[in-house]
């Protein structure tokens, strides 16, 4: 489990300057378009090409291979849950069509994960949050997003203290009804403590003229380099989709 903001916050060491200078909003738009483009691919060969482009992009930005492999491990269990029944669901002998379909899902998911890794590891979380704030998203959503993000670290802290307290009382976990009752009550205690803290924070904020909208950093202007960096992946995925639809 993450312990502090530092554990969640991306380490930008090794990330190339051109990736860091890519304006956060345009980066987010490029990632969303690329992911929807990848999802719309229909053949494994073109999905492989998209994966190759994404990995090449990630490596050229300075994202390490180790980090990419760690990210792939996150979705591996879920993908296996989805793809193994797909392959074996038709019985034996296994149909080639099913293997190809499972492979398509697998490759596309890996590609999307690579692109998400680019988004999250070539900028700070604060940059990412600011980019959402400057994308004309309703301010109330951004306020809740930013406050929730801050509360998360308070929860981490409290959870660790409570786990330590439970362990010191020889609580070892498991799924007996008694233990679930303990987990349920611990959750309740955690909420009450946090709610009280949230109330105090809210009163402090209203005392400082909080009107439901948080202030953000000034947005950076999007320059022609940012537009070029956004258009290149968009054009690449568009080209893949067009060629696939035309020739396959």
């Amino acid at each position: 489990m993450a312990k502090s903001q530092g554990d969640i916050q991306s380490d930008l060491k090794g990330i190339k300057g051109w990736a860091l200078s890519w304006e956060a909003r345009s980066k987010l738009i490029a990632v969303v378009l690329f992911i929807f483009g990848v999802v719309s691919l229909r053949t494994t060969s073109f999905a492989c090409l998209a994966f190759f482009i994404a990995v090449l992009g990630a490596l050229s930005m300075g994202v390490s291979v180790i980090l990419l492999l760690k990210r792939y491990l996150i979705i591996l269990p879920f993908l296996l849950l989805m793809t193994i029944p797909l392959i074996l669901g038709g019985g034996f002998p296994v149909e080639v069509g099913r293997i190809l379909f499972a492979a398509l899902i697998f490759i596309k998911a890996m590609t999307c994960m690579t692109v998400m890794t680019i988004l999250l590891h070539t900028q700070t979380v604060d940059d990412f949050m600011d980019s959402l704030a400057h994308l004309k998203v309703p301010p109330i959503i951004i306020t809740i997003l930013l406050l929730s993000y801050r509360y998360v670290f308070l929860f981490f802290d409290d959870i660790q203290k409570m786990q330590l307290a439970a362990r010191s009382r020889f609580f070892s976990g498991g799924i007996s009804v008694r233990n679930i009752k303990v987990y349920g009550q611990l959750t309740g205690v955690l909420l009450i403590k946090s709610l009280d803290r949230a109330e105090h924070v809210y009163h402090a904020m209203t005392a400082r003229c909080f009107t439901g909208t948080l202030r953000y950093r000034e947005k950076r202007n999007i320059n022609r380099y940012d537009i070029a960096k956004t258009f290149i992946p968009f054009l690449l995925i568009l080209a893949l989709i067009t060629i696939e639809r035309t020739y396959m």
Partner: protein, 201 residues
């Protein structure tokens, strides 16, 4: 219950994104400034819940708290779930961007159903209310997920060991576990802080 990118077809991904946008707009309607801390806090709790692992043998499960959100923040639940899922997708890569809409619907619709059910039967015992909220939220989410998978591709439902069947069997014990956990949690909160469940609270 985090559907990863690429599992759903692009048409389903776009359709669910639009529908989730509508649901979040509904949740935002008439929101008051005073509600922001409570929603934010419970959104944070919803996000953190995915990191709260309960060990079971070689693996572990985590609570979802969709039903719990439905009980506590009512019609604002889709907003909390949507933001919690954004945090989960972006900070820990649980779920995906193209499936953000689908994941929001999978958890928000049962949460709203729980809220509606709780307002219809206000006098149920707190544990039962919590149990039903947790259990129905997970079951509702799985049923919706099965529908989305079948609309995406019929192969998800083919064969005795299909994805659909495995999901239904795997999530049944989890739904019971979620029900118990939510039940005990809600019972405790009703005893200690009943105002949490008031609309004004």
């Amino acid at each position: 219950m985090h559907v990863a990118d690429s599992v759903l077809s692009v048409s389903i991904a776009i359709g669910t994104t639009i529908a989730a946008g509508g649901l979040v707009t509904y949740a935002l309607k008439g929101i008051k400034e005073e509600e922001v801390p409570k929603i934010s806090l419970l959104t944070g709790a919803f996000f953190v819940s995915s990191l709260l692992n309960i060990p079971i043998g070689p693996t572990s499960v985590h609570p979802l708290f969709g039903g719990f959100l439905g009980l506590v923040i009512g019609r604002r639940a889709p907003l909390g779930i949507f933001i919690g899922l954004i945090l989960q997708a972006t900070l820990f890569q649980h779920g995906g961007l193209s499936t953000l809409g689908a994941n929001t619907l999978l958890m928000s619709i049962p949460a709203l159903f729980v809220y509606w059910l709780a307002s219809l039967f206000p006098n149920i015992a707190s544990f039962t209310k919590g149990f039903l909220a947790g259990f129905l939220a997970v079951c509702g989410g799985v049923i919706l997920l099965v529908f989305l998978l079948l609309f995406s591709d019929h192969r998800y439902g083919e064969g005795a060991f299909s994805v659909m069947n495995i999901l239904l069997f795997a999530y049944l014990p989890l739904a019971l576990l979620e029900g118990l956990l939510t039940g005990f949690s809600v019972k405790y909160l009703y005893a200690v802080r009943p105002s949490l469940f008031n609309k004004e609270g």
